[in-house]
Amino acid sequence: MDTVTQLQRQLVDYTNSLFLEGFLNEQFNQLQQLQDESNPDFVVEVVSLFFQDSERLLNELAKILEQKNIDFKKVDAHVHQLKGSSSSIGAQRVQRVCIAFRNSCEEKNIEGCQKCLQHVKYEYTHVKNKLETLFKLEQQVLAAGGTIPMY
């Protein structure tokens, strides 16, 4: 098997695993479908925005939850944003933790919120690593002269 085919196979297998393991869902496919020759970096661009935005939100959440009097409305607003953006890129696990997080907010459950924050940080970091690996594999395929297979 030549290098390009090998790399492509690796890419396809890796991508499939992300879907199987629930890191990504159908919405990620939708993003890929919007990418074409005129917008070859669309997915990377959107995902990069997601990374930036999420990190901002997670920092904000950490700050708010450290305070004596927690403003649960603010917490909820931030989690709502994070839920929305993770949903928009298909980051399923992050989205799901956000749903649980919002429930803790509604209950004004401080411990619940703190646990959820840890959980969402974990899932975010996890999917970030996965996506960065995915993009690296894509770059390798392109560098070897291949094209990204349609999933």
């Binding site: 917008n39 607003a77 953006s85």
Partner: protein, 236 residues
Amino acid sequence: MGMAAAESQFHVLAVDDSVIDRKLIERLLKTSSYQVTTVDSGSKALQFLGLYEEEGDQQTNPPQTPCVSPTNNHHQEVEVNLVITDYCMPGMTGYDLLKKIKESSSLRNIPVVIMSSENVPSRISRCLEEGAEEFFLKPVRLSDLNRLKPHIMKTKIKGQQNLEKLEEESEETQFQSPPPTLPLQEQQQLQQPPQSQPQQQQQEQQTPSNNKRKAMEEGLSPDRTRPRYNGIATLV
């Protein structure tokens, strides 16, 4: 029909406070051959539409095209054929924006579509009752955008239909008296569209009969709980 080629002329104003969602909706709309402007708030949307007097002067908003909407008395530089807005936004919500547009004599004919990540039936009802054409559940997909076409086309086709009808009438009946002097916009409002309209046959998708109008007339129906709505645009 020549109208299909005119799709690229349609200009959509997209409103969303999320930078990710703005990028997404912009790409979706451009893929569907619309011209797009995105803004991050309801107040900026109103500014763009010319409803608010800008602080300073119009120079801060350079004209995109020289075209001025004929229905507009305000300083709107660019014609907008549809507004698609997120519901949950800080400050002015999508619902507030919808209201302001529908209350404005110059803007109320612009179709408005609401997007939301939350499927709340009462929210959907409220928006439709206030005059929204459709309610999209996020994340919005390419297939959802096919439902925009009827609403955008309607404002253009209706005008054409009226002209054609007048021409027919004057030929057949040897018009003695002068044609109605009502401005075109008001003529559109007076003519309630029948159920099966000619332009529906031109659409790619079958749009079901006016679920939306039924819902408004008969009160809440089971259809209300469906997150995605298909309805005939009502020109208010």
